[in-house]
């Protein structure tokens, strides 16, 4: 069950999910997937299904919580909510992401 080469991408996806839940509040998987698609404006071509392993991972770590609820058009769906440790995690992840981004930017400008 070792972490593989897609770790960076996975980390990115995790942060996207967490951030989405922070801004939108409790949301179901489809909603989260749509939101990520919209924000990234097709720049990121992602199979919607891939967020489910991510959601499971975040849930297992205790960063998000899942409860069954009813969607806007009366459908039973699983809603995910950010937990307290999840909120704290966003800060940590954001920080490290910005550090990586800044480093990358520096590399790219040095030329």
């Amino acid at each position: 069950m070792g972490e593989d080469k897609r770790d960076v991408l996975q980390g990115t996806l995790d942060l996207m999910v967490l951030k989405t839940l922070e801004t939108m509040g409790p949301q179901h998987g489809y909603g989260i997937a749509r939101r990520i698609e919209q924000i990234s404006e097709q720049a990121l071509r992602l199979n919607q299904g891939t967020i489910y392993p991510a959601l499971l991972r975040l849930r297992q770590r205790g960063w998000i919580r899942a409860d069954w609820g009813t969607s806007e058009n009366g459908r039973r769906a699983r809603y995910y909510t950010l937990t307290k440790t999840g909120k704290a995690q966003i800060e940590k992840e954001t920080e490290s992401w910005e550090r990586v981004a800044a480093t990358m930017a520096r590399f790219l400008t040095v030329q």
Binding site: Q48, Q60, A77
Partner: protein
């Protein structure tokens, strides 16, 4: 990821294993909701239903892949894989239910038999004795260096010397059975108990539930103190704690109750019904020849607790030295007790029963091996049929480890299911087997299918699953991928056929060993049940009662005379008599005697089995009176003292000369001063077996009860015209009418006594017989399977032979010959193994040697016949093959 998240993940995964169904349903619901929401949104954008649904699927990616990924990561991957293999295995079973059923039934028989036997072995041999540090408890017995003193019983003075002189034991305790009658209660009750030295409880490391144990001063003359069992306390005293210090009347004497033992307490272990324990003070009547001072009276068992660090061997050496010293000190009494033996208490308790159980356990393991052989062969045949499936999996990227694992999971799943069914079988059969054992094996009654037994069954299932699964699994993994995938390419799996044949040969060999053992035990049992006991056990009722010394020392002879008169007057009674050491009751006694024709020093006197009987005893038992006369009521204390011997005695000690009129002095005091009297031999009777499993008919001396009125007590034997047990009420009421404080006990028909004594050999025979039968059936089924399979695979070859002009008879012979070779080789190995291991059974056999050629020949005949029957059907099928169809088929 920090430690907390890691831990949470781990717990979440472990938790998930137990909520599989719920999680699967939730995931399914969630994914369906996702797709429906996506499709709905697509429809809102103007797509038609079908388009909307398809786009939703496309955007999602692989639904199955996501589902499997999530499922795998929800739980522990290793376990998930196992679960998946397990489910696959179950699906395979459902696909071929016949195959699964045959395998599971075969295993259930093997594992069930093993579980049943193990539950008994566990209770009898493996469970420690129920005392503190039981491994330090040993049995000590009296022995003779170059002699035949087998009973091992010890006398009090020797015991006191052992106790005083040894340095090996923390405690050394003597004990012997004692039956007493509890009176002063509503109805007199017969109680079994034990007379022990004072430190029994400290030796065992047991605390009384109530009150106290004995003190050393309570071995002194005149003391009467008693510990009672929890059961007696509850039944006779209503569990009243104030019973402590109260007086209890046992056989006419007043005892002070000083304590109650815990409910679980037993001593000795094989006497669970004991109700009281009292000190050896009761064996001391203060006279010079009292039991506690008599070196000639050997009736004690001795148990010791080794000091820490002392080994059994060291204690044994010390006790031998002490016994040798005592033999020099007291040559008159101890010459034939010049040695001693120490062995672990549990070994002493089990004796020959140990061999019996080990033989049964060995037999049942053989049955399991044969069952595993069958299953392995079935799986091997199936593995060949599944070659294409395995090759396909290989081609699709499954590595060999993965395939072996999957096959092993399949066989272990089969093993576990067989084990479950086997446990059910064991649950059903254990009570029946326990009934068969009766009381013939100590502690067997405690056996049951409990946790350790279930753990054993599980272990056996897993081990057999791996055992019979590994061979085909490895064979499959080695299979040649290409040739297997090619249509019609039917390469033999590496050595698969030879493997199957080897398994059959092994099965036949094991089957021979088992059947030969069973055959020997059966022969022996038939000899036992059909042997002439020397008396007629039909229509004989036996029972006993106590005439307590406290009231009957003077009047005992007269009491019995009147009693037998009344008994003989009952309607339906042909005759009645009494015997103190009744045959078939495990009671026995030896008595030394002085023979004027062979004067020897007192210590070297011969001794022979003895019984004390009433007039008409021989007539009632139908023991033939060969010469002279029976005892009569006229043989009393005033008349000349007499005795009767049997033919074996006359032969051994009078070398066939007429013993009538000769005089001997058996060492039995009759209460008159001056010690034992000379007795004239007035009669010679036929020999009898004193116990049903006795190999020889021993020399015996019979003394008249009326001339030994200090000796108590006789069994009554009554020959009846009808069912002997129907006489029980009348017999009881005669005794009660004469003395209402005498309870009648041990009421049995003589045939039932014999039956109880044969319980152990019967148990051995029935179990081994059943196992041998099972082994034979399994072997036949296995052989049939292998031959049928081989014929099926050779259809083409046989077709070609037939097409080229081979006779059908030749084909039939060819198949039968193949089977005969397998059976023959197996038989040769089996006979060799049987001859090599025969001595194991020796101690269990009566009237037959352990290498009985007739039995062996019979067994081989049965196995050969069974083997040919198993091979005949496939051979017929082979001969019936239609060459045209066989050739066209491929």
């Amino acid at each position: 990821m920090d430690e907390v998240s890691r831990l949470r993940t781990m717990f979440s995964r472990i938790g998930a294993m137990f909520r599989r169904k719920k999680l699967d349903r939730e995931l399914e619901d969630e994914l369906r909701a996702h797709l429906e929401m996506a499709a709905e949104e697509n429809r809102r954008r103007g797509m038609n239903t079908e388009e909307a649904r398809r786009k939703a699927m496309r955007d999602f990616g692989g639904v199955t892949q996501v589902r499997e990924t999530v499922r795998m990561r929800e739980g522990v991957p290793f376990v998930e894989n196992l679960r998946r293999d397990g489910l696959y295995a179950l699906r395979q079973m459902r696909k071929s239910p016949g195959f699964a059923a045959v395998v599971i039934i075969t295993l259930a028989l093997g594992i069930g038999a093993n579980t049943t036997v193990f539950s008994i072995v566990d209770a009898v041999m493996l469970r420690p004795l129920p005392y503190a540090q039981p491994q330090r408890l040993v049995d000590v017995e009296s022995r003779e260096v170059n002699g035949t003193y087998v009973s091992g019983a010890v006398c009090y003075p020797d015991f006191f010397d052992w106790r005083a002189q040894n340095h090996s034991f923390e405690h050394l305790v003597s004990y012997h059975d004692q039956s007493l009658t509890l009176t002063g209660v509503e109805r007199a009750v017969h109680l079994d108990g034990e007379v022990v030295s004072w430190d029994l409880l400290p030796l065992l490391g047991v605390q009384p539930e109530l009150g106290r144990g004995f003190g050393p001063e309570e071995e002194k003359l005149g003391t009467r103190v008693v510990l009672i069992s929890h059961a007696l306390w509850a039944s006779q005293f209503g569990s009243d704690p104030s019973v402590m210090g109260r007086t209890m009347h046992l056989s006419g004497e007043a005892y002070t109750v000083i304590g109650v033992t815990p409910a679980s307490f037993r001593f000795p272990v094989d006497a669970p019904k004991n109700d009281f324990w009292t000190t050896l003070a009761v064996d001391n009547d203060g006279t010079p020849r009292t039991a506690t001072a008599n070196r000639g009276n050997h009736s004690l068992a001795v148990i010791g607790r080794l000091k820490p660090g002392v080994t059994v061997a060291q204690a044994d050496a010390e006790m031998k030295a002490i016994a040798a010293r005592l033999a020099k000190q007291y040559p008159d009494t101890n010459t034939r007790h010049d040695s001693a033996g120490v062995e672990s208490e549990i070994r002493a308790l089990l004796g020959d029963t140990r061999t019996l159980l080990l033989v049964v356990l060995g037999a049942v393991v053989l049955v399991l091996l044969i069952a595993c052989g069958n299953v392995a062969n079935l799986l091997l045949a199936r593995a060949r049929e599944r070659e294409r499936e395995m090759a396909m999996r290989s081609a699709l990227g499954a590595n060999r480890g993965r395939i072996v694992r999957q096959l092993l999971v399949e066989s272990v799943t089969l093993g576990v299911m067989g084990g479950l069914a086997g446990c059910g079988l064991a649950f059903l059969t254990t009570p029946a087997v326990l009934r068969l054992i009766g009381e013939s094996v100590p502690r067997a009654a405690d056996a049951g299918v409990n946790l350790p037994v279930l753990a054993f069954a599980l272990l056996v299932s897993l081990v057999s699953g791996v055992l019979f699964g590994l061979v085909p699994a490895v064979a499959s993994a080695r299979a040649d991928l290409l040739s297997a995938l090619k249509e019609g390419g039917r390469a033999e799996t590496a050595g698969g056929h030879r493997l199957g044949s080897a398994v059959i040969v092994g099965q036949v060999a094991l089957g021979i060993v088992l059947t030969a053992g069973a055959g020997l035990l059966m022969t022996s049992f038939l000899k036992l049940t059909h042997s002439n006991e020397g008396f007629n056990p039909d229509h004989v009722l036996t029972f006993t009662f106590e005439t307590p010394d406290s009231r009957y020392t003077k009047t005992r002879a007269e009491f019995y005379r009147q009693y037998f008169e009344k008994l003989r007057a009952l309607p339906g009674v042909q005759s009645a008599g009494g015997s103190m050491l009744l045959p078939m009751t495990d009671n026995s006694g030896h008595l030394s005697f002085e023979n004027p024709e062979h004067p020897v020093s007192k210590g070297e006197q011969e001794s022979a089995r003895v019984d004390v009987v009433s007039p008409e005893y021989f007539h009632t038992m139908q023991i033939s009176l060969v010469a002279g006369r029976d005892f009569s009521d006229g043989d009393d204390m005033q008349s000349p003292q007499v005795m009767i011997v049997n033919q074996a005695f006359a032969e051994k000690y009078f070398h066939g000369e007429n013993p009538l009129g000769r005089k001997l002095k058996p060492g039995a005091g009759n209460g008159t001063p001056g010690g034992p009297p000379w007795r004239e031999i007035v009669g010679v009777v036929g020999n009898i077996h004193s116990s049903a499993t006795q190999r020889e008919m021993d020399p015996m001396q019979y003394l008249p009860a009326s001339q030994l009125s200090t000796w108590c007590c006789m069994y009554s034997v009554v020959r009846t015209e009808m069912d002997p047990m129907s006489l029980e009420p009348e017999a009881r009421s005669i005794v009660t009418s004469m003395d209402r404080d005498i309870p009648v006990t041990d009421v049995h028909a003589m045939q039932d006594l014999i039956g109880m004594q044969l319980a152990q050999p019967r148990f051995a025979m029935v179990l081994l017989g059943a196992f041998a039968g099972l082994a034979l059936v399994l072997t036949v089924v296995g052989l049939y399977g292998v031959m049928a399979y081989s014929v099926a695979r050779r259809t083409r070859e046989i077709g070609v032979r037939l097409a080229l002009g081979a006779q059908r008879g030749t084909v039939l012979q060819m198949v039968l010959r193949d089977a005969a070779v397998l059976v023959g080789v197996g038989m040769a190995i089996g006979i060799t193994a049987t001859l090599a291991s025969a001595s194991v059974l020796q101690s269990m056999l009566y009237g037959t040697g352990s290498r009985n050629p007739l039995v062996l020949a019979g067994v081989c005949g049965v196995v050969a016949l069974a083997g040919m029957v198993a091979a005949y059907l496939p051979a017929l099928r082979a001969a019936g093959i239609d060459p045209i169809r066989a050739l066209r088929a491929e």
